[in-house]
């Protein structure tokens, strides 16, 4: 019988059959909360702006959570975490879609001319829109079948998420009027996550050549 260790315990938890449904439900919590607050009029004087921004916040948070998985796995050895990465990435895409739909419907009321003007003329919307477009192929290739079909190119393709995350932070940064504290926090977290990968990559290169 295997000796009890924190690692084996975590692995067992992470590999529980209930794990995925639980994480799935947890990912829906922001949607349910903000939906409830919206319809009970508890989001202040400008509820539409509030839900649009909060959807954007959660899209960005899920992007970063997705990017936490690999470093966390390497640091802790909890390989069971990998099961959740695609689901978390898809939730990032889901909240991006909510964010974008709220903008298209309640902010612009399907005024295509104005939306195009926004995308072209306003840099923060330009980068936000590019981030959305780049996420589409990632979401579309998130099935097991596509992983098999694309093989090593799947991994290459999904590195696009680094670009998407950078654009998303930039989108937030350029949007705020003057107070950059919040986007600065996201930028710091992202820098840490990408920095970890870079260090890891360089170390491996050095070992290979050395």
């Amino acid at each position: 019988m295997q000796a009890w260790t924190l690692k084996s315990f975590s692995e067992q938890v992470l590999r529980m059959r209930l794990g995925k449904p639980l994480v799935f439900a947890a990912c829906l919590v922001p949607l349910v909360c903000y939906g409830y607050w919206f319809f009970t009029d508890s989001l202040g004087a400008n509820p539409i702006e509030a839900i649009t921004r909060r959807a954007g916040d959660w899209a960005l948070r899920f992007l970063l959570i997705t990017l936490v998985i690999s470093p966390l796995r390497k640091l802790t050895g909890w390989h069971g975490l990998a099961r959740y990465r695609r689901m978390l990435g898809l939730f990032a895409f889901f909240y991006v879609c909510v964010h974008l739909s709220l903008y298209v419907t309640l902010d612009k009321f399907f005024d295509l001319a104005e939306i195009i003007e926004d995308v072209i003329d306003r840099p923060f919307i330009t980068v936000g829109f590019i981030a959305f477009v780049l996420l589409i192929p990632l979401a579309a290739t998130s099935t097991n079948r596509m992983v098999d079909v694309l093989q090593h190119r799947w991994t290459q393709l999904h590195r696009l998420v680094y670009v998407v995350a950078m654009l998303a932070v930039l989108h937030f940064w350029w949007m705020v009027k003057i107070d950059t504290r919040e986007p600065a926090i996201y930028a710091a977290v992202l820098t840490g996550l990408l920095g970890f990968r870079l260090t890891f990559y360089l170390k491996r290169k050095l070992q290979e050549t050395g």
Binding site: D41, G44, A45, N46, I48, E49, L106, D107, F109, E114, E117, D118, D121, R122, P123, F124, W174, M175, K177, I178, D179
Partner: protein, 318 residues
Amino acid sequence: MLLKTTRAYDIHESQVTDESLYRARRKFMQGTAALAGASMLPAASLWPGPARAAINFGDIEKSEFSTAEELTSFEDITSYNNFYELGLKKGDPKRNAHRLVTKPWSIQVDGECDKPGDYDLEDFIPTPKLEERIYRLRCVEAWSMVIPWVGVELGPVLKRFEPTSRAKYVQFFTLYDPKNLPGQRRSVLDWPYREGLRMDEAMHPLTILAMGLYGKELPNQNGAPLRLVVPWKYGFKSIKSIVRIHFTESQPATSWNQSAPREYGFYSNVNPAVNHPRWSQKRERRIGEILKRKTLPFNGYAEQVADLYAGMDLKKLF
């Protein structure tokens, strides 16, 4: 088509004319007036006679300049504020409102005028008689409200300080009190907040100094005890909690213009034809409504104010 949500607070409007409230307020104000008259002498007085009656919220005149549009609720007007001295988020000013100390309050008047000095608030206001002005307020962030301000026209107030012929502009300053005002401990703007108007804009009958809203004294988060309201300009021109008025010959510095000249001009008239570099100004969300409505030139006050800008290229002088 515009969809209008009916909200629980819509009934709050009835509070405007609540008589018992008015009476209680009047009684209170009379009491404080007697106290003030007995115990304090203003630093400088424009008034030859004995102590004046206090500002009177019990008897507010209606105005022909008021719009008949549906009022934004008291709750929304007082909980969704841009007042960076009290915090950067919309809900912060209400939460931190108690940090703004409004009593006693005096206003320093200086620059190109014959009657400079420090004036107590009650001495500064030429008449105890207040007017209600229901104005649209259009924020540069593309949202708007309809607010029943209570105050006096700015023009007659300024005239009493006898601005000289060199007074072409008037500049306003907000209280600088970083010990109490949390926002001023961070350098998001170059404190104190300052704003300015051309003299003819300041003298325009639509321009008011507000001391109240919804028939009551201004809540601190809305710029108590005294703020400017210029309804045809973006909201940030309507400077809050004024402590200094400075007459000047040259165009004065204004805070948002200093902070981002490409985004915020000195004039900042509401203009759907000139977009903010980061968002469109064609439409606005009236607080309480779902879909955006069209933004009107000069916030719908073009008929009264457009001629102030005759011959000016408002795309350049935005």
